[in-house]
């Protein structure tokens, strides 16, 4: 088994080198590689590695779905994921993302005068204990919390989304700097690709909305002028 792993280790050199450079920031206009081409490149992976990649992709897909879920549903999904995931890095990716979700949910709930969330992850108990404290006393581990609080208070959802993606991006980029030509670097590339994709689509829909508003304004002015 170890011998097989040593032989397959060289496979990642080709795959990693075939992926375009991931920019240092996700605030770019388009993803470095299209989804179809990325899927094509991932065919270089062995079946067992492809299974792990599918787990990550399924989680990230689930994470970006905007549908409202109950705390219980999220708890069930988190437990199911943690039972099925054996790869330590994938667990870390999922845990960090869920931590960000839990903290954000707590910030929103507190702002609306609700009780502490049940939530999932490592910070649930800490948040409950520090529910009345400023920023739940987690700024040392999550320095983005005060900035998100500020953006929530100014009703700026796009800025909130940007800050949350920035926090996740920074965490995963720091991790990616530790790996070179390994399976972990492939997983972290995929995770960051997903952030760039999410942001570019957000920008795209924002641009479309802006265009619609401008179009309506222009048509309104036209009708007004005609009338």
């Amino acid at each position: 088994m170890k011998r097989m792993r040593m032989l397959s280790a060289t496979e990642y050199y080709m795959l990693v080198a075939s992926l375009p450079h991931m920019p240092r920031t996700f605030l770019v206009e388009r993803v470095p590689i299209s989804q179809s081409r990325l899927a094509e490149r991932l065919k270089l992976l062995s079946p067992s590695d492809a299974d792990v990649v599918s787990q990550v992709q399924r989680f990230l897909q689930w994470d970006r779905q905007p549908t409202a879920r109950s705390d219980q549903e999220i708890q069930q999904e988190y437990d199911r994921l943690m039972q099925s995931i054996k790869n330590l890095l994938v667990r870390r990716i999922v845990e960090y993302r869920m931590d960000v979700r839990t903290i954000t949910s707590a910030l929103r709930r507190r702002r609306l005068g609700m009780t502490a969330p049940t939530g999932v992850g490592r910070w649930v108990d800490h948040i409950r204990k520090n529910w009345d404290q400023d920023n739940f006393r987690i700024v040392r581990d999550h320095p983005w919390v005060p900035l998100v609080c500020k953006s929530l208070s100014t009703n700026d959802p796009l800025e909130v989304e940007r800050l949350l993606l920035q926090a996740t991006w920074a965490e995963w980029t720091n991790l990616a700097d530790q790996y070179h030509f390994t399976f972990e670097s492939v997983l972290l590339y995929l995770s960051r690709w997903e952030i760039v994709d999410r942001w570019t689509r957000l920008n795209e829909s924002q641009g479309r909305n802006r265009f619609d508003i401008l179009l309506k304004e222009a048509l309104g002015e036209q009708q007004h002028a005609n009338w």
């Binding site: 060289t10 496979e11 050199y13 080709m14 795959l15 990693v16 080198a17 075939s18 992926l19 375009p20 450079h21 490149r41 070179h180 030509f181």
Partner: protein, 155 residues
């Protein structure tokens, strides 16, 4: 011939061939890694294929150094010469093995960096050249010290 003498002679023979064998193993791994990185990079670039593939061949020099050291150490193996042959052969071969493997990693990184910024090729390949320098040190001093072992041209 006693068992001890036989064992010592075997070590001497191993010392003669180890630089070629371990140098070749290092080159195989180093060239395979850098070569696969080059193949991956070829999928992502439109030009400059030649230097990417050329860079992946750098770790092959360790095999040549190993062959030359083997030729230098090659002589009639006697109980007096065997310990020296084994010690120098083993240490030089380990230096060649690790330098080839790690040079392969340096070449892969250089190929990956060049893919995005072709203008940095010269700088990116410098770490691989530095690693090569250490392999050359081990090779040259292996040759010099090996020449003093009894039974050789200078011994």
């Amino acid at each position: 011939m006693t068992m001890d003498t036989f064992f010592i002679l075997c070590l001497g023979w191993a010392g003669i061939f180890l630089p070629t064998a371990l140098g070749a193993i290092g080159s195989i791994i180093g060239c395979a890694r850098a070569g696969q990185a080059a193949c991956g990079a070829l999928l992502d670039v439109e030009t400059g294929y030649g230097r990417l593939v050329g860079a992946s061949a750098l770790p092959s020099s360790q095999t040549i150094y190993g062959i030359v050291v083997t030729m230098q150490l090659n002589r009639v193996v006697t109980p007096e010469a065997a310990p020296g042959l084994f010690a120098i052969g083993l240490l030089v071969s380990l230096a060649l093995l690790f330098s080839a493997i790690l040079q392969g990693g340096c070449c892969a990184s250089a190929i990956n960096a060049t893919k995005t910024k072709p203008e940095v090729f010269g700088l990116a390949i410098a770490p691989a050249a530095i690693v090569e320098g250490f392999a050359v040190f081990a090779f040259i001093f292996g040759m010099i010290v090996g020449g003093g072992i009894p039974g050789g041209a200078a011994g």
